[in-house]
Symmetry: C2
Subunit: 139 residues, 2 copies
């Protein structure tokens, strides 16, 4: 059902100090940087093996990541698993009785198609599935 850990999402107050840690100290390569207005974040993807670390800084306090930071401070925000066919996987998750935030895929970073399950259904872990855009390999 899931082929790999696609990325971990890390909520940060500001991108630049986090880049100093992940790019400079941990020596991960920056693969992509994008403002995703729809989700209210600036996001940076850094390569690690076949996967990524995704840094997420809120565009405003009244956004999902802004509220997350206000509630519990910076830290691990979500995990994303890569799937080959997101529509098929959503169908299988529904059949398994999992509560979904997104009944249908929406557009994520780098033109991927993504959907989130509800943390109530996943023991408190905000869990995303992601089908990369055609031509965008994981590394």
């Amino acid at each position: 059902m899931f082929s790999r850990i696609d990325h971990i999402g890390v909520a940060v107050e500001q991108i630049e100090p986090a880049l100093e840690l992940y790019r400079d100290s941990f020596q991960l390569r920056v693969a992509h940087r994008e403002v995703v207005e729809q989700q209210g974040v600036e996001a940076v993807l850094l390569d690690i093996g076949d996967g990524h670390v995704e840094l997420l800084a809120p565009l405003a306090a009244d956004t999902p990541v802004g509220r997350f930071l206000a509630k519990q401070g910076p830290g691990l925000h979500h995990v994303a698993y890569q799937v080959a066919d997101i529509a098929q996987t959503l169908q299988a998750l529904r059949q398994a009785g999992l509560e979904l935030i997104d009944e249908h895929p929406r557009v994520g970073i780098r033109g991927s198609r993504v959907a989130f399950m509800h943390p109530r259904a996943t023991a408190g872990v905000l869990t995303e599935i992601v089908e990369p855009a055609a031509g965008v390999e994981a590394h």
Copy 2:
């Protein structure tokens, strides 16, 4: 410095309901199960691609994972990056000025050698590095 995301650690109150989610609904294969007395947890590793999901249930309330659950409930607990040479990596992290919890590697699950960085140094993310035991491949 880091070759891949080795695993995400997920803190849970009890192993069995979490297994129903990760093994039965998400269809991940259980690779290993171990009581790690030194860390006060029962841990289950499930395979996903080259990496793992590690479920962590506390053996008692007065353990690191027990205190984590009391403070913020079940959810993402840590991320672990795989390294080829943990002693060399610790040396490089020290030189980069990172604050470490473990100055020297200690024994982790499945005979691996592990060390944790302090979340103060890593923007709130409890970050582990892990060198697998010889002969234990990631999958």
